[in-house]
Amino acid sequence: MTILAIILMAGGAFFLGVGSLGVLRFPDFYTRAHSVGKADTMGGMLFVCGMIAHNGLHLTSLKLMLIVLFIAIANPAAAHALMRAALRSGVVPWMKQPEEDEQGSKEEPTP
């Protein structure tokens, strides 16, 4: 059971690391929110599942399972709420090659 817990928690640490790397390195807000909404959720769920495997059948395991359920629902919902707020308040999405017209000013990218 401890082996299973170590495997699950190592997987969780990997996904959390990938999510943190995405938050650190991606070029604009929307791609960072994409990294948080998927990789970070997966990492947190795997981590708590590893703790459940280490704990065994117990009342505490039920509460840990509630935490897993809550992370699965709330973390993408929070990322989505943040992304919608950013889009409505006018944060411009990142384009690969921003096109320039003759005056040299950046053209407004279409969302």
């Binding site: 401890t2 938050v23 807000f29 970070d40 505490t60």
Partner: protein, 96 residues
Amino acid sequence: MNPLFVTFAVIVTLLMLLSLYRTVRGPTVFDRMLGAGVISTKGLILLCLIGFAYDRIDMFVDLALTYALLNFIGTVVLAKYFEHRTEQEAGEGDPR
């Protein structure tokens, strides 16, 4: 102390430091809120790991559950607040 959980707690703390850079340096206010959300998700996991390391997980799991609820509510409320605030200041460039 179980050395397994202490090792994972150190790893999660280092990842929190990695996310702290985005929270401090983020160009927009939404980047900062995103970094704070990542840090509090990792803090939730760190709370559970500390509970296992001290063999008091039956007490720490309630704290972790409460922390998860407060984190979610705080993020959603702040997102709503900054959405309306930046609509009022429309036309003054990117929100910082």
